[in-house]
Subunit: 148 residues, 2 copies
DNA sequence: TACCAATAGTTAGTGTGACAAATATATAAA
DNA sequence: TTTATATATTTGTCACACTAACTATTGGTA
């Protein structure tokens, strides 16, 4: 009987994740941020780790390689990122934020933190801990690597 | 400073939702279920509510109309669902599970409940309550309708 | 040196999500 | 009745997730 509930929770999880993304995307659009939510995730990680390869970046943001290839294509087209040939390994690139990309990150960072905050109204720091613990447990139950 | 954490939680939420879907999809494929996770959600809701219109169904599963149109197209192509013209309103359809669709639902239902259960190992019923409460709060914070 | 498996990245195909716009029909107002 | 507005669904476009297949390169090994 509780079994029936499990399916329900996976539904709520999916629905909420989509809502969170959709809400952020609306705010991004309203503020004319010129990037999508996923593009922002990539930009932000690049600003925190220079000279990553695409594989390293893929592991950081938990996206697969084809998806990342396309996101980077788009960010290159927008002039925020450059693919620099790796000096030793001709198969790979070092990803590099352009000046324009750096500027974009510092411009958007505070605005996006503010947008993200909205979701957590009426919730306590203890709730965050519980939420994180449950999400991580689910992730690991399904074969994901545990958080370091 | 806690601000930085918020962005992190939205990342974990997205990552976990994708993992849950990915895990289920792998099991669906291994079991040759012949439907995707989203197609299953639609089938299941149709089995619980006969003669829905697409709009009613869209509201149940929280998908937008174009997405639902396409999922139903695929389910029709697979022979699980039929669009029956609405007797009074020529704009709309009544969605109808075929015999094959009914059979598919009863065949898959127990298997899928079992798959869903996996995510909740090491978690208590109290955790489920907390999780549901937090997810619903986030959903409502971002403008979603509250649960009835 | 020649072969071979592993790795980095890309491309193509399908399904889904969001959004805008179009079509057809229904209903209400003038 | 005519007009206006609202509703049900579809179509088109872009972005992302996942799979499979492909190219190029690397590094180990016979």
């Amino acid at each position: 009987m509780t079994q029936e509930l499990f399916a329900r929770y996976s539904f709520l999880l999916d629905r909420t994740a989509r809502k969170v993304k959709q809400y952020a995307q609306h705010q991004f659009k309203a503020g004319e941020f010129d990037v999508t939510v996923d593009q922002w995730l990539v930009l932000k990680n690049l600003s925190e780790n220079e000279l990553l390869s695409q594989t390293e970046l893929a592991n950081l943001v938990f996206k697969d390689h084809p998806t990342l290839t396309r996101i980077i294509d788009l960010l290159c087209k927008k002039g925020y990122v450059e693919r620099v040939p790796h000096p030793q390994d001709r198969r790979s690139f070092q990803l590099h934020l352009t000046d324009s990309g750096l500027e974009k990150v510092s411009e958007l960072k505070p605005k996006i933190l503010e947008i993200r905050e909205k979701a957590w109204e009426n919730l306590t720091p203890k709730d965050f801990e519980e939420f994180k613990r449950i999400l991580d447990t689910i992730y690991q139950n399904l074969g994901g690597p545990s958080e370091e």
